[in-house]
Every structure is written in C-alpha cells, then in structure tokens.
Symmetry: C2
Subunit: 270 residues, 2 copies
C-alpha cells in the first residue's frame, strides 16, 4: 500500500461534534520557524471545501498570519457568513490554545461559462525538462516537497548585499512526490517563492508573511485535466517600505493558462 | 462655516455602548447599485482606526463584499483578534438587519525605519495640468467626487464590442472637493477604476467587486506631507474566467513614490 501524499496528509482534518475541524501541522512542511504558510492556507481552504454547506468552488482566499503556529494540533472554525444565489462568503479562524493564529476569508461561487481571456500571457520559458532542478536549502524542510526549476531568480548563492534591482523569479514547479493539481496544490504553490527581499538585496534578513490572497481563474475540472503537470510560477515585489514588502505572483499551466494570481505582504526586519 | 468634506462625512461613525459603531451609506458616493465600494472599505478602516485598542498604522486591508449595502445606516463591529509586540490583526464585519454585508480583515503595525525601495517605478506621464479632466458618467454619482485625468484607458465612448486586448488605465486623480491624502483617501482610490472588463471588451456587462485588498507602503506622516496632491493611478486585469476577473492597481505620489498597491476580484455576468 502506498503512502498518502504529504499534502493530502496535511489536508486531513477531523470533523468535531461542534462543527469545527481538528488538524495538525505537518513535519514535512516545516519552515525555519513554524509551518510553511502555503500549506496552512491550503488547510484553511480544506475546512471550507469539506464543509457540508459549501456552495461552488473557491474564487478568492485571504489568509492572515496572526502568529506563528506551534508544531502540533490546531482547531479550524469555518463559518458561512453569507450565502447568495450563486456565491458564498466564509470566515475561517485557526486556533491554538484558544488563541487565533490564522484569520481568513474565503469566497466560493457556482461559476457559469462566460467570455474568457488571459490578459497576462505566460512569460517565455524553455520546457521544464531543459531547466535543471535546484534543491532547496536543507534547513528549510518544506522546500523538499517541491521540484523547483529556476529559469530566473533562484535563491542567491552569494550573500554579498549587492542590490540586484529586480526581484523577479520565474520557475517551473510541481509537487514532490507528484500529486495531481487541485485548488489546494495551487494555494500552497502561491506561497512557494522565497522572500523577495533576499532576491533583491542578497542579504539574509528575518521575514514572515502577514497576509496572502489567492485568486483562482480555473475550475476543478480543468485542474484535474492537467494532472501532475508542471506549473510556471512568477513572483515580483512592487515596494519595500519600513518593514513590509509586497509580492505579486502568477501561476500558469504548461499550456499558458493563468490558473491563479496571488498577492502577499511580508514583514522584514531591517 | 464650510461644509465638511464628503469623504469625512462618510467616515463619521458613532461609537455605540457595546463597542460597535453606527455609520451610514453616503448619498454622494452612490454607485449604480448600492454605495461605491471604495468608500465602504474606507469606512471599515475607520472603525479600526478609531478603535481605542488600535496599534500602529494600517499595513493591509481586505474587504469582502458579501451583499449590496442598502442605502441607510449600518453597524460596524471591529475586533482585535491578535495583538503582538508591533503588529495587530483585526476582524471587521459590517451588518444591516443583523446580516453581514461586508466582512473584512485589517492588519496594523508600529513600523520602524528600514531599508526601502520602490521596485515598480511610476509609468511616464505628463504633468496633471496637461491632461484634461474627464467627467464621470452622470448616472454614477460617486465619480463626481473625483477629478480624473486619463492618460490612457478612459471609459469607452463607443460600446462596439471591439476587444482592445489591453485593460490598462493610467490616470491622475484627486478628491473633489480637494482633501488632504490619508489612508482613507488611498483606500477609496484603490477602487476608483471602472471595471476592467468594460475597458477590455467595450461591452457593458453587469459587474460587482467581491473582494479587494489594499497594501500600504507609506505612513500617515508622509501622506500628510503630500497634502492635496494628485495621485497617479494604474490598473490592469490579469485574467477573466467564468464570471470573475482580477484587477491589480497601483497608486503613486506625484514624485513617484509607490503609496499603495491593490488587488480585487470582480464578478461579471457574461
């Protein structure tokens, strides 16, 4: 019998009698301090996805990282705040020791076929197989859960404080071990880019995401059609100001469909 | 005695004995249906800003538009979920008839001076005085509360369904009547761009923002130093898919400082 995929293991939530869910941080997705925020966001989404009252599929998700999660169990409370004819707005809290550690909102909708267009085309990139795999730093466990093939903007190898001017990263990525794409995988991938300030400055400063939003431009059926294909990920910062910088990110399919766009605000120390 | 500025009137919230706030939609900021979402977002921020427990200044704000606000009074409940040494996470709900109409999260922080950089430079633009003012459509009242000088991408004048390929809008804008810049003005301005799908397709389709985030890259002191200056606003869509498109926006000062970045997801009908 094969092991369940580590992301599916992390996404396993136990329904509690009061309607909340019991989950746990996943050791394989450990970050330098606390868990990888992308998987925490996927766990938030799972609580909505598994809820008996859910309407449709996720359109937008915002997760606020209020405090570092301690290794171990947590409780997720997902509450539908407003259900309309074709849309639903959710409030989600993740608690440890009765304290809020993550606060989130999720918007789901029953979508209809409409006019469609990707305005932001996928950047030119060589095929994934032609781009070498860069292993993540050993001290950051969760990076071993992804195959990352950097076309531009890998983690600096020389930390010399040379301001490179640009923070763009472009890479092919997929889950390791392989796992079929779905909304959970995309959510986690939105947070897979190492902090833009390290890329820009080649200076190691402490960082932590304080809020992240993911907007979905696809359906589960289309994602299932992609299987375990690569995703082309791009991330850039727009501004760094007194302790916080932003990151805009895009995730395209191999065929160039824009699957998700994401934004986050990140604390940095100096 | 001069009239208070309409934005300040809209931002007037009355503290209630239970800690909530009583506010009202503002007729001068009326949209085609319900109020202009930018001012609703500013009202959400006001509830946090006015709260006796607030720590620092706003860093990030996310507002979910759960239902159309009815014209008239509403209640705002702002709750600090987690207060850390220098950061604070808030949950805000706006209610009408005991139903949630807006659900929001706000993150505030006491910022420290750090390394700073604007990575996304302001696009080239002629000085505001050299760009003519375009009055907004008469049926959308709130547009008369802004002076808009479009450099690129004004509202289509011919609705012929010609797909223009691009959704970029670039404009100078400021409050009308003039009002000194602050976090509230910036929050409202983040939502000032007409729907990108109208720009792209030159087809009038029903739309409505479902969620918007604003990230601040400035301080109140710096905003106060700008006074009533123009703001350079840019907006673009990245993807349109089955009923929802996204919008990324930036707001720069006249001197080219990136003051705020914003993202929203917008429903469209066909």
């Amino acid at each position: 019998m094969s092991e369940p995929n580590p992301l599916d293991q992390a996404l396993s939530l136990q329904a509690q009698p009061d309607g909340s869910w019991l989950g746990a941080t996943s050791p394989v997705y450990a970050n330098m301090v606390g868990p990888f925020g992308g998987v925490s966001a996927a766990q938030v989404l799972q609580a909505v996805w598994s809820h008996p009252q859910r309407l449709g599929e996720p359109v937008a998700l915002t997760v606020n990282y209020c405090a570092v999660l301690a290794d171990g169990p947590f409780t997720v409370v997902a509450q539908p705040l407003r259900t309309n004819r074709s849309t639903q707005h959710w409030q989600v809290q993740v608690l440890q020791e009765q304290q809020v550690v993550l606060s989130a909102t999720v918007m789901t909708a029953a979508r209809r076929d409409t006019w469609r267009a990707d305005e932001l085309a996928a950047p030119a990139a060589p095929p994934p197989e032609q781009v070498p795999i860069t292993p993540g730093p050993a001290r950051v466990k969760w990076t071993s859960c992804y195959e990352m093939r950097f076309i531009e903007g890998a983690l600096p190898t020389v930390w010399d404080g040379a301001d490179g001017g640009s923070t763009r990263t472009l890479m092919w990525l997929r889950d390791k071990p392989l796992r079929a794409l779905d909304f959970f995988a995309l959510t986690a991938m939105a947070d897979v880019f190492f902090p833009r300030i390290w890329r820009r400055r080649a200076v190691y400063v402490p960082v932590g995401t304080v809020t992240m939003s993911v907007y979905f431009h696809t359906s589960l059926a289309r994602l299932q059609g992609l299987g375990c294909a690569y995703v082309l990920g791009q991330a850039k910062a727009q501004a760094f100001y007194n302790g916080y910088f932003d990151q805009s990110a895009q995730l395209w399919s191999e065929a160039g469909e824009l699957l998700a766009t994401s934004h986050q605000m990140v604390y940095y120390k100096e």
